[in-house]
Symmetry: C2
Subunit: 914 residues, 2 copies
């Protein structure tokens, strides 16, 4: 018996060898083919070159040297165009121009409004009409224009950029249409004088600009098609956006890092600095050139005293500003979300507004501009000042409320707007803060391109000013005890307040740097830093940042940050949160398994394991790949071929009498058919190139764009019954996707599968017909029952993964990796799922969804929160390593059982005898 | 035959099952054991708790409530101590105090020198002696003290911190001894007045402080033992170091990020800001408290005009400063490295200096202080000014060289040092720059704790001042054309120069922020940014940064950065640089293979594959684990047992007549022995706990500390011949390690294997003897030949990986991953090697060494540089996916051959018939 076994094995070995040879031959063939193609390519390029030389030879008489020179120069230029710094300079230049032009247009718009309002001062009603109509028209136009051209341009853009920089492809957010819509929409929206900002949209515009510039530059060199380079450039573009908006290069870089990145590559640092500095420089030079300024200075230059900027005893007041700003910032984010959710949830309102999309912006604008009408309520809240003017006055060097000498109250220029004959300046400031607060929160929900940074900044400055004026009124001679009088500078408080509130809303520390760059003074560095840090501490413990809040509202696929006090995250392990019931396919599975897996699951990728027993992870395959495999197997050409074969067999049967077909042989036949097909395919590929996508690397971005080509060309063929089941399942799948778009972050693209399939169907049959000349000969005379039967048979065949793109190294984690580390890895590498393995064996999978749940504290967290105390009981050594040993044993025994076959009974008896 | 095959398979399956059961039982046993232990632990804690309650019950009469309250408070406090912000505040506080005390001591030292020098003004020779002796004594003391207490404290510390934050454990760099040595050594070194800085050392001191504080805090809570948290805290500590050194929180954070990190976690950002701000605040408050300052202001406050800081037309001059500083910075780094290498390479000098270690510092100090002796050459280079005074005068608001009104030349206070009756101020400045340049480069090579930032900063300021004074002399009425005269401010140029040169030397952009915070003015932001970026661009293309240069000199295990123009890196793939000849062990290998692999290779970890044919990667095993496996197999206890068994068999043989032993049975016997041992071991573990280390996660830090316990307890037993071979190979291995310490970053620990082994040998025999009561009965009567024979037999056994710690998910890459991405992943995750796989199959390995070679452009790069043009020919689709398909085929056929045995001939004939 042992001898028989050996023979058997030897035969198997031979068989393996043969197959090995067979596939090797295929491989050799492919290599030869590739070599041939390469060679011919080289030959072609050589011949081209020689032709060029001939041409040169021919032209020798004239100016051959000149030509050679120009060709070389051209080549040199093209190679140089690939350099990063040229791209960055271009980007900075373009963005500075855009920023300046937008600012210029906004200024003109605002001047026009003032002129209209000023010219009609004879009649208050006409004045009111002019004051109100102008912004309503502008905002409505902006909303309508954006809606029609590119709805993606609505809003800030920072949340989307955050998502894109995390590695999720939102292609439609980076198109030329969006660029145009964003720029024009933003100009009109800000020109209306509503409390909106340009900073968020500028981040988006800069990214758009970088993406478009990349596309344009790719005409010259190949570097621009590299994806990871483009991501790096987008990160730099975000810095440019903030930098050229505020002329704040350092603050811009830092703000964009804080707002868009989770992990920042320090090697990218210089890109941001370089581009942002250049952009800010050009932006300010344009102002000098336009005679707005004498030289390059800060945008909102202050002039506080340098020798004694503030007293140490004033620090508690700054701390109070910080803490209050923290609460205020959280409130702002909450209010903003509340308004959006209220309008969404009130179905009646929602329905009405959805019908008349431009009504909501118009109504909001009407409300806001009515309230700021200067002769009306606006007189109590400096309504006639534009945002910029208000900021300048708030940062003013002078003290407004000098106690005792109230008459000498010196308001210069625009600052007079804060003065009201009947009402105290404190009341004006309080009213301004309260009104602007809800107005800004409301205005940022309008569907136009707009940011919330600047309005919040102004509110913060007003709050700081309020505290500062109070302090000045309280201590008219300053707090300093030793002789010299240092009066309190309320402008300094305004600076602190502005930084603190904007820091609280955006959850950033770098607003402090922006403030220094905006004001051109850094003397208040410590108060600003303290206030900003306190504001952040308070705000972060209460609410997500404004951008994260929008991400949640928009349900963008993003991973939340680990918060301030996240030390319990170190004790949760992947095994606590992973999904143990992994969908997988085995190497030797049949098409039926594939079909079932595709029907039941809805994951974007599926794990490929060696076998269900060993569970050794070999790689992962995209769902679309499997679908195309299945459709190839069940498709019409395959069936026609079967009919042809059957006809041939029929013919053969008439001449040769066949024996009864055993099941064994039947199986073999099916296998043979498979091979036939694989060869057919290989002879098939040169003419109709199968979408030969390069191997996906281990750390890949989701590639939505390439999807359409992978959709099976013959998927809704009338015969594919099993296939139809599969595709009919897709609406259901779509619903699932909507609920958790983690697993399919590419849902917008996938949501219209029927459409895509329909498109792709038109062509292939024609192609196939032209290819198989004999296709017309075979009649599709199968009945539906026959088809079903045929398909059943087809489904029993083993899957041939030859033409399937497999990701050979999907990301793997160990079950004992901490949640903290998992979060780090996911956000570092931009993963959306990772397999959990133990000595090569697949034991679970973690996706963004599980991770998000565990971090945010929804369902799973209950389970998770119980873990940490238990976790301390977990002896880190025993159970798991034992487990591991067991697994290893199994594997090892599996091997041994194959390599060392022996009689178990004898060894057992010997063991007993011992 | 087919039937036989099925039977065979069924038997094999049963066999597998049995083994499965067997190991499962082991697993169950272990779990039960663990549960028992856990339960008893719980019971114990419960009983403790009840005892506590009893105590409380007992005390009820007195103040039970009070006690309960205090206990609760204590618990609350202890839980709070775990919060990050408490740690950060403590760290900031301690560092501010340290910084202030160090500054205070340095000031006293410098004053003392001045006082001595001033008091002896009657005699120039005595004056000279005092001027020279004082620094020589201080530096010599500093060098000697550091050398004796902790040689790790020498130098800046930033390169080491960079390495540590990359994930390499350099334990001895974070001890209390190092802390003391660094602080005292630094104080003395700076007190000597040599051109040295405190900034680099302060980064190290802050990290030391954080590490020690962590250790201290871990007495209260468990969080402090978490490694990734400690790394985060170290990153924050680096920011604190710079922050409290310059009172520059923002610049500190940014500088520390640029200098120490490759990828920065934005979530860590607030930590750095929080701690650095607090630290800077306390540092400045201490100055106010000490009446040095009236309020909190900048360290080197400037007072430039705000309204017109500089003219647009001055920008070219700033750009020139930037470019020149770039060259200067590169030259400085080169000079510094040249000096070190010169002293190293001159063997005679080196030998002499190694003997008299304190001679070199003394000589250098003598040279430098002689040259700065104020009545001597020092009068031409403001020699009597300390570094701080020099910087203050250089940043001065006034113009020194007013053309035409040279008599009115107003030097106030210290600035008079720059004035020389015979010599022009330009000459003084040039001399200062030139002399200080080489002096600083030389002084930073002295083996004392010292940094180079501050000297470079001062030189940069002097250079800027030089340019500024030249400009002022050239355009006495300023450049501005429109009416008003705005004179040129040379102080502004000094600021720009300081930022540019220090930026060039350190390759950072954030020096600009440090400059603003140091001077308290941000008005020159654009010139500074432009100059710093230009300086960086020039310097980075010429030389590595000073810290990277030191890393290379010290040969620390670090991965170089990708430079500015690294776009060709996108085209190089891992397959171009990977090592294809991977050392691996198979699951069913025998001990001989293990032995051979350990003898030939010298890698820290080895890959574990399923079998040599399939090459499916299952995990990786550390070298030490394998060594301990091997030594267990060949160790004395194992042999004694064998002797015992032999004796038992002898006895048995006398009663039962044995048949001839076939090879088959022989094999079985050996296997049986193995199992016997594995059970013995499991019964063995409860009393003498085998070092049960937790499973290593996929992304691990190298854990040097745990190594000693893994060294086999009986390794230099007189019997282990094969083992001796192995350990004798270790010196050789050590040599290899020295050459490339990438593979063994833990070399300092590993370099004394003989010592460790000797220590570990003393105990085990005793333990073992006490454990095996019958050990004394068995006499070790084997001859050396018998032992060799026995070992030969032992080596033929299959390896049992049961008690071996396997990393089940080592990092994997795909062969087509670009160099750029590989670099990113390596630096992100702190890897030192990664396996290259293709559908689960191991095809290569990439370690830091290969990566470094490819990036830096040594040997491999030649090969690499040829690739990119070739790379374009590589069709991304065909060859590799074909290859992949072939591999898959093989795997799949292997499966099929096992699951579907059939006659190959028939199918072949059928194929032919078709």
């Amino acid at each position: 018996m042992a001898g028989d076994g050996t023979d058997q094995r030897a035969l198997q070995y031979e068989q393996t060898l043969m197959y090995g040879r067979y596939t090797q031959e295929l491989g050799v063939y492919a290599k030869e083919e590739a070599a041939r193609l390469r060679e011919s390519g080289q030959r072609r390029s050589v011949s081209e070159r020689s032709r060029n030389l001939d041409l040169l030879e021919y032209d020798k008489g004239r100016c051959a040297k000149c030509r050679i020179c120009t060709v070389r120069c051209q080549k040199f230029l093209i190679s140089r165009v690939g350099e990063d710094w040229i791209f960055l300079i271009l980007l900075g230049l373009v963005m500075a121009l855009v920023s300046w032009v937008v600012d210029f247009c906004i200024a003109i718009c605002l001047q026009a409004q003032k002129w209209m309002y000023g010219g009609l001062d004879s009649n208050v009603f006409l004045q009111y009409l002019a004051w109100v109509t102008y912004p309503v028209v502008l905002i409505t136009f902006s909303a309508g224009f954006t809606q029609i051209l590119a709805p993606q341009a609505v809003g800030s853009g920072i949340p989307e950029m955050k998502t894109i920089l995390r590695g999720v492809v939102l292609k439609e957010y980076l198109t030329f249409k969006t660029f145009v819509a964003k720029v024009i929409g933003l100009t009109c929206a800000l020109g209306s004088g509503m409390p909106l900002g340009k900073e968020g949209p500028f981040v988006h515009i800069a990214s758009l600009c970088a993406a478009l510039l990349s596309k344009f530059m790719s005409l010259f060199g190949g570097i621009y098609e590299n994806e990871s380079r483009n991501i790096e450039m987008l990160a730099a573009a975000c810095a440019v956006g903030v930098g050229c908006c505020f002329a704040a290069p350092i603050g811009g870089v830092l703000f964009s890092i804080e707002v868009t990145s989770t992990f920042f590559a320090v090697r990218n640092y210089w890109r941001g600095f370089f581009a942002a500095t250049f952009s800010a420089f050009i932006f300010r030079v344009l102002a000098v050139w336009n005679k707005d300024e004498e030289t390059i200075t800060a945008l909102f230059k202050t002039n506080f005293r340098l020798d004694f900027p503030f007293d140490l005893q004033e620090l508690p007041a700054f701390a109070v500003i910080g803490i209050a700003s923290g609460f205020g910032g959280a409130l702002f984010v909450y209010l903003n979300r509340l308004i959006v959710q209220f309008i969404r949830n009130q179905k009646a309102i929602n329905k009405f507004l959805m019908k008349k999309r431009l009504l909501y912006p118009a109504l909001v604008t009407l409300l806001v501009s009515t309230l700021t009408f200067p002769p009306g309520f606006g007189q109590f809240m400096a309504g006639k000042l534009t945002q910029k003017e208000a900021l300048v006055t708030l940062l003013d060097n002078h003290t407004w409320a000098k106690q005792g000498i109230a008459e000498e109250f010196d308001f210069i220029g625009n600052a007079q707007a804060w003065k009201h004959p009947q009402v105290n300046v404190f009341v004006t400031l309080v009213l301004f803060i309260v009104m602007k607060f809800w107005m800004s929160a409301l205005a940022t929900t309008i569907p136009v391109p707009c940011g919330a940074f600047m309005p919040v900044f102004v509110i913060g400055a007003a709050f700081g000013r309020l505290v500062g004026e109070s302090m000045a009124a309280w201590f008219p001679d300053g707090i300093h005890s030793d002789g010299t009088i240092y009066t309190i500078v309320p402008g300094g408080y305004a600076v602190v307040g502005a930084a603190a509130l904007s820091g609280a809303v955006t959850h950033t520390v770098s607003t402090s740097v922006i403030v220094f760059e905006l004001t051109g003074q850094i003397s208040h560095i410590l108060p600003v830093m303290i206030a900003v840090i306190l504001a952040n501490a308070v705000a972060q413990s209460l609410q997500p940042s404004l951008y994260d809040s929008i991400i949640r509202i928009k349900k963008l696929p993003y991973l939340p940050e680990l918060g301030w006090g996240h030390h319990e995250k170190y004790n949760i392990r992947v095994e606590d949160i992973m999904v143990r019931d992994v969908r997988y396919i085995t190497l030797n599975c049949c098409y039926r398994d594939l079909h079932n897996v595709l029907l039941t699951g809805h994951l974007k990728t599926l794990a490929l394991v060696e076998s269900a027993e060993s569970m050794i992870l070999l790689g992962s395959i995209e769902r679309a790949q499997l679908q195309s495999l299945l459709s190839q197997q069940l498709g019409r050409p395959r069936r026609l071929e079967f009919i042809r074969d059957r006809a041939a067999a029929e013919k053969k049967r008439t001449s040769v009498i066949s024996n009864s077909i055993s099941e064994e042989e039947n199986r073999r036949a099916s296998q043979e058919v498979r091979f036939q097909i694989s060869t057919e395919e290989s002879s098939f590929s040169p003419t109709r190139p199968v979408p030969q996508k390069p191997l996906k690397p281990a750390l890949k971005r989701s590639s939505v764009v390439e999807r359409p080509t992978e959709i099976p060309p013959n998927s809704n063929d009338n015969s594919g019954i099993a296939l139809k089941n599969l595709f009919c399942a897709s609406p259901e799948m779509e619903g699932l996707e909507k609920n958790n778009n983690v697993e399919c972050p590419t849902s917008p693209e996938l949501r219209k599968p029927s459409k895509r399939v329909r498109i792709s169907v038109v062509e292939p049959p024609a192609i196939l017909k032209s290819f198989f000349g004999d296709d017309g000969d075979v009649e599709d005379d199968m009945t539906i029952r026959e088809i079903a039967e045929w398909e059943e048979n087809q489904l029993d065949e083993q899957v041939n993964f030859n033409n399937c793109k497999i990701d050979p190294a999907p990301f793997q984690l160990v079950e004992r990796t901490s949640l903290h580390k998992t979060h780090t890895i996911f956000s570092l590498l931009g993963l959306d799922h990772a397999y959990v393995t133990s000595i090569g064996r697949l034991i679970g999978v973690v996706s963004l969804k599980e991770l998000r749940k565990a971090i945010e504290g929804s369902v799973t967290v209950k389970g998770v929160k119980v873990r940490p105390p238990l976790a301390s009981f977990r002896d880190s050594g025993t159970s798991s390593s034992e487990n591991e040993a067991t697994e290893l044993h199994k594997l090892w025994d599996r091997h041994k059982s194959m390599s060392l076959p022996r009689e178990p009974t004898s060894s057992e008896s010997e063991e007993k005898s011992q």
